[in-house]
């Protein structure tokens, strides 16, 4: 009675089969990351114009903005995975959430550091406590909190439920980050790309930005595949030791 679509779905929620899929894909993620990084950096450093107002400093954008997008995207995907894990009880959802959290935390940190380096020459300050910067700073601590909670259980299965609830609570911060620049007055400027009218960025600057974003996605997928294997093996080991007791 199982049709083709359901069969694939069953295979993807089976950790062992998913592991085989990811194992064949992971070298390609690495290749895609390195090649798009080279193209992206070449565009960003040598083949894109300076900004009319900010001059060459605008090149920080090609690292800052994609890492901010990745930080938000990874957290949102963690929240969806936690929801699926809590409702359907799929183990892969929990493994996904746990493996990508440190990647998201590092992207958040990169976003904060590059933003600070960009803020000093442009705004005249390393840091201010405006709504956008503060909510992004909180996101870093939500990531760290999740990592601590998810690691504080000897039996990973017990920690899954509590840390998933933690992720869902923390998801409230994501729309706050996104809309902080529209709701409150901030030093940070409003969104450029996701405006309702056409994006107000020149096409020569948009290309390196999107290529760098693609390369960060492949980097994320590559690190995820490595962490997925180790998390899966950790759970196998725990299950084995618990069953042999």
């Amino acid at each position: 009675m199982i049709n083709k679509g359901n069969e694939l779905k069953l295979q993807l929620v089976n950790p062992g089969i998913l592991e085989r899929y990811i194992k064949t894909m992971s070298p390609w993620f690495c290749v895609a990351f390195i090649s798009s990084l080279i193209i992206g950096l070449w565009f960003a450093i040598f083949n894109s114009p300076p900004d009319y107002l900010q001059g060459e400093t605008v090149r920080i954008m090609y690292v800052h903005v994609p890492s901010a997008w990745m930080a938000l995207f990874i957290y949102s995907s963690m929240a969806i995975a936690s929801l699926i894990g809590l409702i359907y009880g799929h183990l892969v959802a929990f493994i996904y959430t746990k493996s990508v959290a440190p990647i998201g935390a590092v992207f958040t940190l990169i976003c904060l550091v590059t933003g600070s380096l960009w803020g000093k020459p442009m705004w005249g300050t390393w840091w201010v406590w405006d709504a956008r910067l503060t909510s992004m700073f909180i996101l870093l601590f939500i990531y760290l909190g999740f990592i601590i909670v998810s690691k504080s259980f000897n039996d990973p299965l017990k920690g899954d439920k509590i840390s998933s609830i933690f992720v869902i609570i923390g998801f409230i911060n994501i729309p706050i980050i996104k809309f902080s620049v529209d709701i409150w007055t901030t030093l940070h400027q409003p969104a450029t790309i996701s405006k309702l009218d056409t994006p107000s960025i020149h096409i020569d600057m948009l290309i390196p930005l999107l290529v760098m974003f693609a390369s960060f996605i492949f980097l994320f997928l590559y690190i995820f595949s490595i962490r997925f294997f180790s998390e899966l093996n950790l759970r196998r080991y725990v299950a084995y030791t618990l069953s042999s007791k």
């Binding site: 114009p49 300076p50 900004d51 009319y52 107002l53 900010q54 605008v58 954008m61 929801l83 809590l86 409702i87 359907y88 020459p121 442009m122 705004w123 005249g124 300050t125 201010v128 405006d130 709504a131 609830i165 869902i168 609570i169 998801f171 409230i172 706050i176 409150w184 007055t185 901030t186 030093l187 400027q189 409003p190 969104a191 450029t192 405006k195 107000s200 960025i201 020149h202 020569d204 600057m205």
Partner: protein
């Protein structure tokens, strides 16, 4: 199946409760979360006697065209406008590179008894538009100086 439905309801209820409480907290603190006030808001607050010379605040808006005046002692004064009301700002210190006429600016400081703003630091604010200088030049040519 019923168990799964119950779980979905529980999680949504839980999420909605927490989201509502966060919303209420942010609503209550909205006056503190804003990073700066516009000249209109500050003048309204002065007339309502919500602020006086002692209160530290930030004033933000556009630097009015040809309003920057450099004085001999190294201090500057200029006008911040929100295209409705405007305020004169006095400042002495380092100015950020992006501080220009018709650019966004945020001044940190306090008002004096004549309703002028004494800033002790200045932050430049830029907008969300990114383009090469040549494009900006053609835009200027096409649309005048706006």
């Amino acid at each position: 199946m019923i168990k799964r439905k119950k779980r979905i309801y529980l999680i949504s209820l839980f999420f909605i409760t927490i989201a509502t409480s966060i919303y209420l907290i942010l609503w209550a603190l909205r006056d503190n979360i804003v990073f700066f006030y516009s000249p209109s808001e500050i003048q309204q607050k002065i007339s309502l006697k919500e602020i006086d010379e002692m209160s530290k605040l930030r004033l933000g808006g556009m630097v009015k065209e040809s309003s920057i005046e450099k004085l001999n002692d190294g201090s500057i004064n200029f006008i911040i406008t929100d295209f409705d009301r405007e305020m004169v700002v006095f400042y002495k210190g380092i100015i950020p590179d992006l501080f220009k006429e018709q650019q966004g600016v945020i001044a940190e400081g306090s008002i004096n008894n004549e309703g002028m703003f004494i800033a002790n630091s200045i932050l430049a604010k830029h907008d969300e538009n990114y383009m090469p200088p040549e494009v900006q030049d053609t835009l200027k040519k096409d649309y005048g100086d706006k």
